[in-house]
Symmetry: C2
Subunit: 419 residues, 2 copies
């Protein structure tokens, strides 16, 4: 492709035009498109696997690491999951057009708020081709047009998936511009996408920190998920068995996820009771522990944590542990070093739990449960497009509602204003 700026400008314009149509589309039309998309995926299994084989071959000869190769694979199982995902989105309630709080005002006007699509969403992601289908279905259901920019190593797989999406749109007589997969692997296309301030309403980066930071330089608003430095705080009042079970599950249920525990905080009163049990459990699980001075006094065999450990998202079998005086120090630690993602208190003291919920400034604050529950499905949002660590617009798991906004609707009967 020669003229990438001109190409991306065309993509932006087409998406804006399509966004008007999809925003006004009925629930039934959107459902038809999604169901046709699911059928097209089922019918295209052969073509999908073939396109994917070419991507895999190229990736292997480029020397892509095995974990990245694994994420790139499209096979019958991953295709089944994509189809199931589309059907789950079909089953979610359509958020568009719902009006709330249409109250009468002293002027005689009725004023309420209507939920509406954001418009055009630009999604920039790496490796996993299933994001193409997840993102397209969530955007479609929420009445948004989208511009999808997948990883260059997955471009053939993504093109084959985009063909299925297009079949779905055509079947429902929706404009094909409503979901556009960027057709070039040239990285310059991302730079151009970040400049489409007139045509793109929000950007959603899904990938590593480098990608997210690059996208955040755009003057288009970004729904971003940076890292998850999640905490469990074991309060004086905790039940020791529950505390151990929650800490172990929060760390070990899955390591490479943003809602995994990274720093465990233990109140000084509980440290002698729970730390030895935790050390044994984490030892069995193969988790390396790094403790503050007080923690190392109880567990002399573990390594020392330094300042950097408190802000590190290990995404692996390493856990930092700090012994704190109590609730105040725990809240202070989390608000200072955490990433405002997901934090847990384990405790039975009513006032402490209530203060933790109010004062910890994170997207998800939890009492007596595992950090690993922080996701859209568990929270009842259905499929999620990411977990936002931003504060504005949407915080925590982002589902259909996060891809919409509200406008005011005002119903009158000829009222005019006299100030």
């Amino acid at each position: 492709m020669k003229d990438i700026p001109a190409y991306m400008l065309d993509v932006g314009r087409a998406a804006r035009a399509a966004s008007r149509v999809i925003a006004a589309a009925s629930s039934a039309t959107k459902t038809n498109a999604l169901l046709a998309m699911a059928e097209a995926l089922d019918a295209a299994r052969g073509a999908l696997v073939e396109a994917n084989a070419l991507d895999l071959e190229a990736a292997r000869s480029d020397g892509l690491a095995q974990p990245l190769l694994d994420r790139l694979i499209l096979d019958d199982r991953t295709i089944d999951r994509m189809i199931e995902g589309v059907r789950e989105v079909v089953a979610l309630p359509d958020p568009v057009g719902a009006i709330r709080g249409l109250d009468y005002r002293p002027s005689g006007l009725q004023v309420g708020r209507m939920r509406v699509p954001l418009g055009v969403i630009g999604i920039i992601y790496e490796s996993r081709p299933n994001v193409t289908i997840d993102a397209a279905s969530l955007c479609l259901k929420s009445g948004n047009a989208c511009i999808l920019r997948g990883g260059s190593e997955a471009i053939r797989s993504n093109q084959a998936l985009a063909a299925c999406i297009e079949q779905g749109l055509v079947a429902a007589e929706l404009p094909v511009g409503a979901v556009h997969l960027v057709q070039t692997a040239d990285r310059a296309a991302v730079g151009e996408l970040l400049k489409l301030t007139e045509y793109v309403d929000v950007l959603v980066p899904r990938g590593g920190k480098g990608l997210i930071e690059r996208v955040a330089t755009s003057s288009i608003p970004v729904i971003k998920h940076l890292e998850g430095v999640c905490h469990v705080y074991i309060d004086d009042s905790a039940d020791p068995d529950m505390a151990v079970a929650i800490a172990v599950n929060s760390k070990t249920e899955k390591y490479a996820v943003c809602n995994a525990l990274e720093t465990l905080l233990v109140s000084a009163a509980m440290a002698p009771t729970v730390l030895p049990v935790l050390a044994a459990r984490f030892g069995q699980a193969g988790v390396e522990l790094r403790g503050c001075e007080k923690t190392c006094a109880v567990l002399p065999d573990i390594g020392a944590a330094n300042e950097e450990d408190w802000t590190t998202e290990y995404l692996g079998p390493i856990l930092a542990i700090r012994t704190v005086a109590g609730l105040d120090e725990a809240i202070e630690h989390i608000n200072t070093y955490g990433s405002q993602h997901t934090d847990v208190i384990v405790g039975s003291d009513y006032a402490n739990n209530r203060r933790f919920l109010k004062e910890v400034d994170s997207a998800s604050v939890m009492v007596n449960t595992s950090t690993q529950f922080a996701d859209g499905f568990e929270f009842g949002l259905g499929a999620e497009i990411g977990i936002s660590t931003d504060k504005l617009h949407v915080r925590g798991p982002v589902g259909l509602e996060g891809l919409t906004t509200e406008k005011f609707v005002v119903l009158g009967n000829g009222e005019i204003r006299h100030r």
Copy 2:
């Protein structure tokens, strides 16, 4: 002041620290601070007028234009209004800490959302010193710390007002860093404020387009109000008398406001009936009309509108008029040329009104009433800090709720996750 970067960094740090305290403050504490602030304003009338006189004198010798001088004045009447404004904020319900939708999930967890402050809000405004008090009271009530940067021409008035705010904070034993007025008129301070990404959660510019565009370059999220190119569309089905009354009120009730009518759209079927009446009424009011070709065919005495008129916010007694085929063309015009602020349909056709509400992509969409009603008080939000033309986070008038966000709260009883 010598080292402005160091000063602003200190201001940011202090605001972040104070934000934790104010976020956790009880409603009663915040009310005490606000009431003490109102009393301090009342007691400081002499000092306020004196400080203001110095600002006015300097502004006159700098040759500030009369309308700007008028906006700068602090007198008994404007002080009364400020005090009244603070008391109105006291009377509003405290949004902080409210939990909604705490539903049980299949996992046994209860998941809901708690409304919480944004943290630190940076407000950058021009001329009017009353914004100092309005902004401080709204931020305080919503549990946010704020950094206020007023116009350099109002700095003495603002410092006198800030002294009253400080008295309020001290009386309620809240940290004085919770409301910080920038103490230098040097424009470099604004540049430094825009860089405080770690300490400021959102920026709210209030002023001209130049200011707003400058603030929007920050990588801190911005709640911005750009312009209001508002429309009234008179549908085929409109009652002609109602249509005329609404169009005239929307334009003439106040000219220099963002919710004033700037472009009138008239369906071709209604044009011969309403245009002559409107021309007479607008003629009496001294409003200059500029029409499209079809409009000029009915009103041969008015000037011709060009492409630029459709995107112009006149903020004065000029009105652009376009005759459109009907609803489709009206929606198309508004979504193409409008500023997504406030748009009205006048009509009695149920389906047309419903389509207009859904398909016009603006912060406020209205049926059969005046654009001039688009404000926080009329919408029931109480005092507003501005009217957002952004789509993300908050759209339309921004009151206390717009200065807050929601986090997830999760209540468990030892649940752990098995994927």
